[in-house]
């Protein structure tokens, strides 16, 4: 049985096809550009081709992410918190705590050994401390995203950012630069400040090993280090973790499909 997971996020749209809820066949990603429906369709088409399963070869499709309801050709949708948790535990079975740093929101999620969410907390009022913060810093420090981490890692005395506003942090960083604080210290300060904000959410939920990082910043070694430093424990992550929500969605789709005896049906009560 092949189930698909589509994570229709604000920044990027991610997809995955999974066989028998066990084996990842293919993953895909593209920027959403404000049009999740189109992005989702393209991602799905590409995956179907690459894994060469015919469209109807995808037995069950489960969507997640901000636009999970905007995708009509779905069988089921689940919240991205439920999905990331499930995905994280699939990728790292010992996971008990998941940190999901998305472009706009950061979530701390406590999970059971089966990947069920037991408690969670996310930033609500504003995007302070979410991933978008890092892109903005990259932009106004004129450092390409992929160079942020390597540059940050050599920091000697990281300079924390006190402003809670992702936009106002700009001035603070410019001040730091003008006061001659070395670039690495500023960059690492950015990641540490981010980790610190995440840590407030994590402590509120209660942190237990193992800790897994999912979402947009999994590529950034600096982010991982910063998180390990503030949480005082090792952090699991790898490149697949970016697709954790999509993977989780596909797996939840699979178990639902099995409950239904292999026959896809209409959407359940939980709909928009």
């Amino acid at each position: 049985m092949i189930t698909g997971g589509l994570d229709l996020g604000v920044g990027t749209t991610k997809g995955v096809l999974i066989e028998d809820g066990q084996r990842v066949l293919v993953t895909d990603i593209e920027p959403t550009h404000g049009n999740p429906l189109e992005a989702g369709r393209r991602v799905l088409e590409r995956m179907v081709e690459e894994a060469n399963v015919f469209p109807d070869g995808v037995d069950y499709l489960c969507t997640t992410g901000a636009a999970r309801y905007m995708f009509p050709d779905r069988h089921l949708q689940v919240s991205d918190i439920t999905a990331s948790a499930k995905g994280a535990v699939f990728l790292f079975p010992q996971t008990r705590h998941v940190v999901d740093i998305g472009s706009q929101s950061t979530r701390a999620i406590a999970v059971s050994e089966t990947g069920r969410v037991t408690r969670f907390k996310m930033n609500e009022k504003c995007a302070a401390g979410a991933g978008r913060f890092v892109d903005r810093c990259a932009k106004y420090l004129q450092v390409p995203m992929d160079e942020m981490a390597p540059k940050a890692l050599v920091a000697a005395h990281p300079k924390m950012i006190s402003s809670v506003c992702a936009v106002l942090a700009e001035t603070e960083i410019i001040n730091n630069v003008s006061e001659g604080i070395p670039l690495p210290d500023i960059l690492m300060g950015v990641f540490l400040s981010l980790a610190q904000r995440a840590n407030v959410l994590m402590r509120n939920v209660g942190v237990q090993p193992e800790l897994t990082l999912v979402g947009g910043l999994v590529h950034s070694e600096a982010m991982v280090r910063a998180l390990e430093q503030t949480a005082k424990m090792p952090v699991n992550t790898d490149l697949r973790s970016h697709h954790a929500a999509a993977i989780g969605a596909a797996i939840l789709g699979h178990s639902r499909l099995q409950k239904l005896g292999g026959r896809p049906v209409a959407l359940p009560a939980v709909t928009g």
């Binding site: 006190s162 407030v200 402590r203 509120n204």
Partner: protein, 425 residues
């Protein structure tokens, strides 16, 4: 507290004496607790320290512990712990400091704070008091006495309010007699109240000297230093004597002409709780401009003695009731407004500075209306700035300094109204 070397800020003898008393007090606390020296937790506003002490209790004021933590820069760790327990960003910093500290074992740089054997909630002008004491009762499972103090809506307390409180005080005394197995020594209570009265009169005398010009005292930043005895040790001989020392030293200041600032440029009335985590920095923003607080509302949170709410050995319970009713934050909004307007007049102030506390609604909610009334109805210049009494994360020095500089700049310019240059713009 503080740890100042700057001689113009403080009365040196008084400050040293005050330090001894603080250290002595906390030393005593760390040995207190249990049946021989039971501990009662109490709130500053409208507190019943005289009654409780006369039953041999040691008294802890978590609000004062909290502000001491903030001054010593250890409040944030307590607050963060409380937040990890689930207390939100918008919850009172005093509450978070205390509950965080309790969870962490009660150790502070100035000694260990013993757990309570009795919780006395004087619900006098702050609803958070009720919530806070409920949380402590749930943690420690010790008895909680709720003294319900009606909100003061008329300048002079009403008979039914006093009767209600006196009845509750008698029930409280009965409870204490039951807990301690000893009965109230009325003579001792009266002696305690007489000592309290003397301390209160000394304190009032000190505060009133702000009316002189230039003012020999800093009625906000400096006065905060001398509040400890009146709030914590009221009813002891030491507290009464302390203010004799203070007032004597104020007189010396006048004789020797050493004033809080070299040149008194602006006389201010200050409203609001100080930003304890950045107390010094904030004070310096005033000193830089030669601005002196000649009167302030915050030093009155322990009791509005200067408005006649004094303890009276001749009317023990009645005067305690009136005192509780008169706590500053228990005064209705119009009464609070009146107090500030009177201070501006009686202390010949040039302006009012209002310091809003982001996590304290009791003090802060509506201060914008106060500001509006001062500026637009009375033409009194007023500045409103906001930070927190306990949480260092809320103090943004650059922004606050910018506002204060702009404010004093404009006061300065309005003094000597400047003719504008001819413009052909």
């Amino acid at each position: 507290m503080g740890g100042s070397t700057d001689e113009t800020r403080f009365l040196t003898t008084a400050r040293d004496r005050q330090r001894e008393m603080v250290e002595e007090y906390y030393r005593g606390l760390s040995q207190a607790g249990g049946p021989k020296k039971p501990v009662a937790y109490m709130l500053v506003g409208g507190n019943l320290t005289e009654i409780v002490r006369s039953f041999g209790f040691e008294v802890v004021f978590p609000e004062i512990v909290a502000l001491n933590c903030a001054i010593k820069h250890v409040s944030l760790q307590n607050i963060l712990h409380a937040e990890s327990e689930g207390y939100g960003l918008d919850v009172c910093g005093y509450v978070k400091n205390d509950l965080g500290l309790q969870e962490l074992g009660g150790d502070t740089p100035f000694g260990r704070i013993p757990p309570p054997d009795l919780l006395v909630c004087s619900f006098s002008g702050c609803y958070v008091y009720v919530k806070w004491w409920e949380a402590l009762a749930e943690k420690f499972g010790c008895p909680l006495f709720m003294l319900d103090v009606p909100y003061l809506r008329d300048a002079t307390p009403q008979g039914e309010d006093i009767a209600y409180i006196v009845a509750q005080l008698n029930e409280f005394i009965a409870l204490l007699e039951k807990i301690t197995g000893r009965s109230l020594d009325r003579a001792e209570l009266e002696r305690t109240l007489e000592r309290a009265r003397r301390a209160e009169e000394g304190w009032v005398k000190y505060l009133s000297s702000g009316q002189r010009r230039p003012s020999p005292i800093e009625a906000y930043f400096e006065a905060v230093f001398y509040m400890f005895p009146i709030n914590v040790l009221r009813g002891t001989e030491a507290a009464a004597e302390f203010y004799t020392i203070v007032n004597a030293e104020v007189e010396e200041r006048v004789k020797s002409g050493t004033y809080p600032v070299p040149e008194e440029k602006f006389r201010l009335v200050v409203e609001g709780i100080p930003p304890y985590p950045s107390y010094r920095t904030f004070w310096d923003f005033f000193r830089k401009w030669g601005a002196v607080s000649v009167a302030a509302t915050y030093p009155k949170v322990g009791g509005l003695f200067d408005r006649g709410f004094l303890h009276d050995p001749a009317r023990p319970l009645e005067s305690i009731a009136e005192y509780s009713l008169g706590a500053y934050v228990n005064q209705s909004w119009p009464l609070r407004r009146k107090i500030i307007e009177d201070y501006v007049r009686d202390f010949a102030a040039d302006a009012v500075v209002i310091h809003g506390i982001k996590s304290c609604r009791s003090f802060t909610a509506g201060q914008g209306d106060l500001r509006d009334r001062l500026i637009h109805d009375l033409g009194i210049p007023a500045l409103y700035i906001e930070s927190d009494h306990e949480d260092p994360r809320y103090f943004a020095p650059a922004q606050i300094k910018n506002r204060m500089d702009a404010f004093f700049e404009s006061l300065d310019r309005r003094r000597e109204s400047v003719p504008l240059p001819m413009v052909t713009g």
